[in-house]
């Protein structure tokens, strides 16, 4: 992976050298949080969350609104710093690491609100993440792949803001995936999409997970979508892990339905 040639490129070398990877103790766990707490003044968003993701795992995160899903994601990407507790990635403590440094380590994210660069063309959007680690012919190749994977070939010169909601989601997933991350976080990727657009995204995520071994944490309310793609599901309620298991276990568990429907079942002690 050659460092991109132009001197003023500020993007860091995305892929870490093999040596650096080796020193971390080689566990299967890719990401782990220990008693992760985040409070906003009086309100506790996450309440000592212990949560772990294995390499290559596709985990879905569900739970009622305000359960702390987005906060947990932001603590992992570094946009928020926790009040207490720690986040480990590949065995390294990244609790206080800057967001862009975490991207170096292989964490990438698609935002809840689709945020592609509206004024730029599809090609310019796709090129941005790739330009920091690829150059010349290789860069053109990766950009073309990224656009094709998003189903937007032929749209290279189109201004991103004029794309449909679904197309923008696909483009942003391509951009996040083009960093060749180990862990890709998606925040409600199919919210507000039509049925066939959801199917396309589901197929896209599964392909990235199986073909390229990218681990996922996907926040999504649509249980059919979750059922289709999830290896394992975690249910968050009032800032803490409430249940964890396969989609079947979760769907059949009455307590989960109750917290969704709002009856307070007094916890599961």
């Amino acid at each position: 992976m050659s460092e991109s040639s132009d001197p003023a490129s500020l993007g860091p070398n995305v892929r870490q050298t093999a040596a650096e990877m080796a020193t971390g103790d080689r566990t299967e766990t890719l990401l782990q949080t220990e008693d992760l707490v985040k409070t906003f003044g009086g309100f506790t968003a996450t309440d000592s969350v212990d949560f772990a993701i294995e390499e290559g795992e596709l985990r879905c995160l569900i739970g009622p609104n305000g359960a702390g899903k987005s906060t947990l994601l932001k603590l992992i990407t570094g946009t928020l710093t926790p009040t207490d507790g720690a986040v480990y990635y590949n065995g390294h403590d990244i609790t206080d690491l800057a967001p862009n440094k975490r991207v170096d380590r292989g964490i990438s994210m698609k935002f809840q609100v689709p945020s592609v660069y509206g004024d730029l063309t599809v090609r310019e959007n796709a090129r941005l993440p790739i330009q920091q680690f690829a150059d010349g012919a290789e860069r053109r190749q990766l950009v073309r792949e990224s656009i094709d994977a998003a189903g937007l070939s032929g749209y290279e010169q189109v201004e991103a803001s004029t794309l449909s909601h679904g197309q923008q989601q696909q483009l942003e997933i391509s951009m996040a995936a083009s960093l060749e991350p180990d862990l890709l976080l998606l925040d409600e990727p199919v919210a507000g999409l039509s049925v066939d657009e959801r199917a396309k995204i589901a197929e896209r995520v599964t392909r990235l997970n199986e073909d390229e071994g990218i681990a996922f944490i996907v926040i999504e309310h649509d249980t059919d979508f979750v059922g289709e793609i999830a290896d394992k599901v975690t249910v968050l309620d009032e800032g803490d892990v409430f249940r964890e298991g396969s989609i079947e276990e979760i769907e059949s568990d009455p307590a989960v339905k109750r917290i969704y429907l709002g009856e307070d079942d007094g916890g599961d002690e």
Partner: protein
């Protein structure tokens, strides 16, 4: 309800503290206290009109000084030429500026008039409104400011006669300036009540936060914009009216207020009344005490440096700090 009550509790406590400090100060070191409170009032009055136009409506109004000029000239001319008593003259100043603000809003800021003309002639809107377009509104109001200053010079000449300062002085400090402190408190109270306790106030805040939803709820957002801008202008005009007896009546008088106003609004943060008054309470004493200790030059530099540090170390301005403090206190209990 519980939260509203506790918020009021802090508000009242703060006001009582400020008044108590004033009374104790007036007894112990009257002159210094009057000067500190005058400095606070100057900043609050300079900023109150802008807090609405910039703070709420997202229009960087570089012609804010010239709105104060309109108020000052209208008051002075109505008193000197029409023989109107001073208090009435001040109301005239505020009203004339409010009307002027209305015209500016309709013709330039919201583009209602040009678009109406556009519809008649070309069949489409000519311009986009300036709300929440910070940079563009800055250029537009900079042009407006040039026009107003030179226009005032052409129409009224390089200066007009100034009205006398009423009342005498206590402890070597002009009574009129002490009265100004009281009037400032009154203005803050009225604006606070207007924006929090009246349904017009809620309509304004709804429109400003999300125009689409406000429209969906049946709020006439066009009228709300118009009235809010007019009120902002009227307050700036009232500031001009209040300072008319104190300043030399020249077309360039607005420039003295511009910096204090912008700094106070930005340092103050989101909320109009709480932000502006708190930044006044912070920056005013710094200006007054440094001037007292090290001379006027040091006072001026201290104010500017304090503003830079506040902008740097208080994200979200002072209102941000207050919100965080309040959350912590409530969270803690």
């Amino acid at each position: 309800m519980k939260q509203a009550l506790s918020q009021a509790r802090y508000g009242i406590a703060a006001v009582v503290a400020v008044v108590a400090l004033f009374v104790i100060g007036a007894l112990a070191a009257p002159n210094l206290t009057f000067r500190v409170y005058y400095a606070v009032s100057f900043i609050v009055l300079a900023a109150i009109g802008l807090a609405i136009i910039f703070g709420i409506m997202g229009v960087i109004n570089l012609a804010h000084g010239e709105f104060i000029l309109v108020g000052a000239y209208a008051t002075t001319l109505s008193v000197t030429k029409l023989g109107v008593p001073l208090p009435a003259g001040m109301l005239v100043g505020a009203l004339v500026t409010a009307l002027f603000g209305l015209v500016v809003e309709r013709v330039i800021i919201s583009g209602y008039v040009p678009n109406w003309i556009g519809q008649q002639t070309v069949g489409r809107d000519l311009i986009k409104p300036f709300y929440d377009r910070l940079a563009d509104s800055m250029v537009a109001t900079f042009g407006l400011s040039l026009i107003m200053v030179q226009g005032a010079r052409i129409v009224f000449g390089n200066s007009i006669n100034q009205i006398g300062v009423p009342f005498g002085s206590t402890a070597g400090y002009p009574d009129y300036r002490i009265a100004l402190v009281g009037i400032t408190a009154g203005v803050l109270a009225v604006v606070y009540l207007l924006f929090t306790r009246t349904d017009f106030g809620t309509r304004v805040r709804a429109t400003m936060q999300d125009e689409q939803t406000a429209m969906a709820l049946g709020i006439n957002t066009e009228r709300t914009y118009m009235l809010t801008f007019a009120i902002g202008s009227g307050l700036a005009g009232f500031t001009g009216a209040l300072f008319a007896p104190l300043l030399s009546m020249q077309p360039t008088l607005g420039s003295q207020f511009l910096v204090e106003a912008f700094v106070a609004v930005v340092v103050g943060g989101a909320s109009v009344v709480v932000g502006t008054s708190l930044s006044g309470l912070m920056l005013g004493p710094i200006d007054a005490l440094f001037s007292d200790e090290f001379g006027e030059f040091a006072g001026r530099i201290a104010l500017l440096v304090a503003a830079m540090l506040a902008l740097r170390f208080l994200p979200g301005g002072i209102t941000g700090v207050v919100d965080r403090l309040r959350d912590r206190m409530e969270g803690g209990s």
